[in-house]
Symmetry: C2
Subunit: 351 residues, 2 copies
């Protein structure tokens, strides 16, 4: 027995609980810095290797260069082994108690840089704007297909985060014919609050966090980064627009620049404090088709898009999967201090 003091904290949106070490802290397990594997020879995502991928769907390129040749900044291609594909028919079926459908959808890869060893923390502002702008482009494009109910954009960096095959920085885009359960759970939470208060719960959290100050990592005019009160993982970060917005696709060009600036700063802080950690970065966006009647008709007022960044420095075990409870060995308020205390090195831009 020892003198650790833990608190149970409830996430106001989903209702799940986290056990947080508020006094005393657990040792974090060791992790390998992601680093660069240096294997540019065999990397299908490096500039000059365009013929090793499927033809591009979208790209930002230098003027005068041709698709599927060098000269690009960001490239979007179909996934080589898609989990879902747009060719199939939906074909919903009931099998007794069970429901299934064919996995119609889309699965794309966004190659975020022509350089093998670049990532958000050492990229130029212009380059991060291009990446985020590609996110917007893919969402707007895929949401035109009314069968696709949700577009999920996520990034896995490093093997512990699930990036097993290619270390070159990339995101993935998945469009699904159903709304994912995590989104539905968030939507239930935000709707419940909206019905009670007639306000967006994320907007209220932003107001409270800006007033308290102890969980705000960084901010600029348009965006805010905080560590959630009931964080599941150490150094988990949330990036939110200060202005209420349900759909990421509504983001304006000027705002993209503000978001890119904050991205650079946050990932630079994480890179320095956690020594190049593996991470997941996931966009939580509103679904495509909103049932105009029934529960979700206020979605544009009650939902608020955000990025969730999870450094993958802890393993999840049976307890987490079985309960939805999480044990977080580092209090959000302590993690914020760590992230704030370093000097930013965002001028050492390589890419």
């Amino acid at each position: 027995m020892n003198a650790d003091i833990t608190e149970l904290r409830k996430d106001p949106i989903t209702g799940r609980w986290a056990i947080i070490y508020v006094d005393g802290q657990r040792e974090l397990p060791k992790w390998e810095p992601v680093g660069a594997d240096g294997d540019t020879e065999n990397c299908p995502f490096c500039e000059g290797h365009e013929d090793r991928t499927s033809p591009e769907i979208f790209a930002y390129r230098k003027e005068g260069t041709y698709p599927n040749t060098p000269g690009w900044f960001v490239r979007c291609i179909p996934h080589i082994r898609p989990w879902l594909s747009v060719r199939a028919n939906l074909d919903r079926k009931g099998l007794g108690l069970f429901d299934m459908m064919h996995s119609i959808g889309a699965h794309e890869v966004i190659i975020e840089t022509p350089h093998h060893d670049c990532d958000y923390h050492n990229s130029s502002l212009e380059q991060v704007v291009r990446i985020l702008s590609t996110y917007r482009n893919r969402i707007v494009d895929l949401k035109k297909d009314q069968r696709l109910k949700y577009v999920l954009i996520f990034k896995n960096r490093g093997k512990p985060a699930g990036s097993l095959h290619v270390s070159h920085a990339h995101s993935q885009v998945i469009a699904t014919p159903v709304v994912p359960i995590r989104t539905i759970q968030e939507l239930h939470g935000t709707l419940k609050y909206f019905k009670m208060k007639d306000r967006c719960i994320f907007c209220d959290i932003i107001r409270q966090e800006l007033k308290d100050g102890v969980r705000v990592v960084d901010e600029n005019e348009t965006f805010l980064c905080l560590i959630p009160y009931a964080s599941r993982f150490p150094y988990e970060c949330l990036i939110l627009p200060k202005r209420h917005r349900a759909q990421f696709s509504q983001i304006e060009d000027a705002e993209l620049k503000g978001l890119a600036q904050l991205f650079k700063r946050i990932f630079n802080r994480l890179h320095q404090v956690l020594n190049d950690p593996p991470y997941n970065c996931v966009l939580h966006d509103a679904p495509n088709t909103v049932p105009q009647k029934g529960a979700w008709q206020t979605i544009d007022q009650d939902y608020h898009w955000h990025f969730e960044i999870i450094p993958r420095i802890m393993r999840t075990a049976g307890f987490e999967w079985g309960s939805g409870f999480h044990i977080n060995p580092i209090a959000p308020e302590k993690a914020v201090q760590d992230l704030r205390s370093i000097s930013l090195k965002i001028d050492e831009t390589k890419c």
Copy 2:
């Protein structure tokens, strides 16, 4: 692009979706067999090292032996660094939007065997009965404290499953002052079905699976093991009582024997087919205190306890955390064939 065929399958209880490879299959990543580290010298859980742990709360022992000395079969001790403790006051608080309470509760460890290199797959029937009977004992005991709303029992085996410090087989017991969100989600699902059909959804699933036969791994008179229709992970197994039961604590002595027999068989199958995989095994039980008014008054009729066994041979990535969607590279029907096809080696009992 290739000819993989995937299906989207919906879990009838929670409503989450899984993408399942039904034709063609993905290569599984490699994993290390858990094995035994052989380090009996430094193991605090080996027989003879009783003085290295806190005093035991409960034990099965040879007649005439004393607590905290050799001669035990199963020992239950307090966790050395508990996440929650029974000493604290609950002290619920609202902090603006946020809810917290002190982490009142219990955190115990069940040492499942005096031998360093034993596990379910090579243990005797009597020993597995003792382990499961210890589960029952701890639940009955902890549920006497009305402040504790839930008792979670889980086992992590191997580092990838979260067992970082001690390789000697053990389970953990956590009692919490709140009902975990995963349980609440299951309860919502089972209640919704019960309201519609006046029947337990698990009982209906058992009937349908026994009729279909293609997802049943093994069964005996009292228990059934199946791979769920919308499995999240390859070779994920569910063990359920055939007779409707909400609370694990209701299990009778004769039934414990049937459950132990199935445990031995299932873990022997998994051990052989997956070469001693890391795994989590989690008991999903009904909560302690049922609000007698309101939503959960039918819990004894609509909920059905079960064990969830998850071989930890895949990594979860950003997609799973962000969406609640899972990608399962091996169809449940295929995994069942693999598990059924081996010859059981349950007579080679070592422990």
